[in-house]
């Protein structure tokens, strides 16, 4: 078994059903985006894929890296120390994968800076570098570009696409539908605990507009519009 998959997944949190019979899979070499309104169940699905809920079996930490939504570090570790935490599943402190991860995420210049003394976007890249340092087969990333400026967001999305092309499975929760449609191979739209559409990125717009309760237009480019 490679990649990640769930089938007919039902999840209740605090007595409230938040996922209703969700089928979802990501294969190696594929980048899938999860989009949808707040509270649709995107983060819960990602946590389930990561094996963090009782409803799903635990995953192998060396194989699957999970980036929590709004992940932050409680202490003033250096950027390099944060990235090195990604080596915990391997039980080593190998410098080479950490250095590669820092370079890939464009944060190598700040390797010795404390994560509590750099910008939110820079800290986000340090957290992403932690996931890359694990060198996993599967990346599960919850809003990895939330604090990034537009140029950095494009750079990270291009990095994720290249990572998928190198044979990894990448699942990314995004709010920026335009970036999802431009970089992901597949876009799954979630609404009220269900996947209402899952297919090629180019075809995601109508389902997304329906889920968000917005209109959409395709001229001059595919985009959501006010209802």
């Amino acid at each position: 078994m490679t990649g990640v998959a769930v089938c007919g997944l039902e999840v209740s949190l605090g007595g409230r059903r938040v996922l209703h019979g969700v089928d979802f899979a990501a294969r190696p070499g594929e980048m899938a985006a999860l989009c949808g309104p707040n509270g649709a169940g995107k983060s819960t699905l990602l946590r389930a894929l990561a094996g963090l809920l009782v409803e799903t079996p635990a995953t192998e930490p060396r194989r699957v890296a999970y980036l929590e939504q709004g992940a932050r570090c409680a202490w003033g570790l250096t950027v390099r120390q944060v990235a090195a935490l990604g080596r915990i599943p391997h039980g080593d402190t190998a410098a080479a994968p950490v250095a590669r991860a820092l370079a890939a995420c464009g944060i190598a210049a700040l390797a010795d800076a404390r994560v509590d003394r750099i910008s939110g976007g820079q800290a986000r890249r340090a957290m992403l570098a932690r996931a890359f340092a694990t060198e996993p087969e599967v990346f599960l990333l919850d809003e990895p570009i939330a604090d990034l400026d537009p140029a950095a967001a494009h750079a990270i999305m291009a990095l994720l696409r290249a990572t998928a092309r190198a044979g990894r499975a990448v699942v990314v929760v995004l709010h920026a539908l335009d970036l999802a449609m431009r970089y992901a191979d597949r876009v799954a739209i979630m609404q009220a605990g269900r996947i209402v559409s899952d297919g090629p990125a180019a075809a995601a717009l109508p389902a997304a507009a329906c889920a968000f309760g917005l209109a959409y237009g395709v001229d001059p480019a595919p985009r959501l519009l006010p209802p």
Partner: protein
């Protein structure tokens, strides 16, 4: 570059050396004055009085320093202190009850034994309160509940104290001291403290992972609940057994990690090895001060060790608060 100015190994070695120097001094200082005790009783004083006191200061201080570093890391809170979990309160309560029922007057080892029993019961209650899968907040809440329970029962014992003598004994004991401890105290406290420290020293990786939150730690294969359970167990052993023989000594566990972070950086796991000798050296130095005070000041007896650590710790807390302010 680890965010600090030295490495844990080097600092631990230096602190170990400091402990050795302080231990040498400690063996040379007593109520009889400075220097090796002479005369027929000299050997007895050295081995029966000064050695247990020195070794207990190292043990209790080391346990407090290491527990403080582990709890601050595990709870992701720079204000966490081993006393927060309520185990010391339970140990003190056990010892006080031994006073209360007069067991300590009839059978000397009853006091530390009752303290150990209190610590053990407190540890079991703490792990029970915190549940099967403790999280940081649930462990803190369980500790606060246990502290409140122990404090209420202590107050009850004080109110109902059979005579003023027992009340005075209890009050003095509550403040924490290493005065007049014997080799028996050392023999009772050493095994649980050392076992607790061994448990705590193994938690470095789990604490590092926890600095990114409980979900991320779980995804890295180091579940938070396991780390926190072991942290509570190790603290119960190391601090509970220490409090059972020394009474309630505060602030050492709180202060030690803050002293080490500027030197070693903020990674929680990097603090563990050095927090053991740092706590040991700090408490032994404080105990030396306590013993020297009557020689230098017009005091008719030693000030209590717990009183001195609190006197030193309170301004330190203010300094932390001022540095943390923007």
């Amino acid at each position: 570059m680890n965010g600090g100015v030295t490495t844990p190994g080097r600092l631990s070695a230096a602190l170990g050396l400091l402990c050795a120097v302080l231990a040498g001094l400690s063996l040379l200082v007593g109520s009889a004055g400075a220097g090796l005790p002479g005369g027929a009783a000299g050997g007895l004083i050295l081995w029966q009085i000064r050695l247990p006191r020195t070794a207990l200061a190292l043990l209790v201080g080391g346990g407090l320093g290491l527990s403080g570093a582990v709890l601050q890391g595990g709870l992701r809170n720079p204000l966490a202190d081993p006393g927060l979990l309520g185990i010391s309160g339970c140990a003190v309560l056990g010892a006080v009850l031994a006073f209360y029922w007069g067991a300590a007057q009839r059978f000397a080892p009853a006091l530390p034994l009752a303290g150990l029993a209190g610590a053990g019961l407190g540890g079991a209650l703490l792990l029970g309160f915190a549940g099967r899968a403790p999280s940081g907040p649930s462990l803190i809440l369980a500790g606060v509940a246990l502290s409140a329970l122990a404090a209420a029962l202590l107050a009850l014992a004080l109110t109902l104290a059979p005579n003023p003598f027992a009340l005075a004994e209890i009050t003095v004991w509550l403040m924490g001291s290493l005065e007049d401890r014997s080799l028996l105290h050392l023999a009772l406290a050493a095994p649980p403290v050392l076992l607790g420290c061994a448990v705590l020293l193994g938690l470095g990786r789990g604490l590092d992972a926890l600095s990114l939150g409980e979900a991320t730690a779980a995804s890295l294969g180091v579940p938070a609940a396991r780390t926190l359970r072991l942290a509570a167990l190790g603290t119960a052993l190391a601090v509970g057994a220490g409090a059972a023989v020394a009474g309630g000594i505060g602030f050492v566990g709180l202060v030690v990690p803050h002293l080490l972070r500027p030197l070693l950086g903020q990674r929680p796991g990097a603090l563990l090895a050095a927090s053991l000798p740092a706590g040991a050296a700090l408490l032994l130095a404080a105990d030396l001060l306590v013993r020297l005070a009557p020689l230098a000041l017009p005091l008719n007896q030693e000030p209590r060790l717990g009183v001195l650590t609190a006197l030193l710790g309170a301004p330190f807390l203010v300094a932390i608060a001022r540095r943390a302010a923007p």
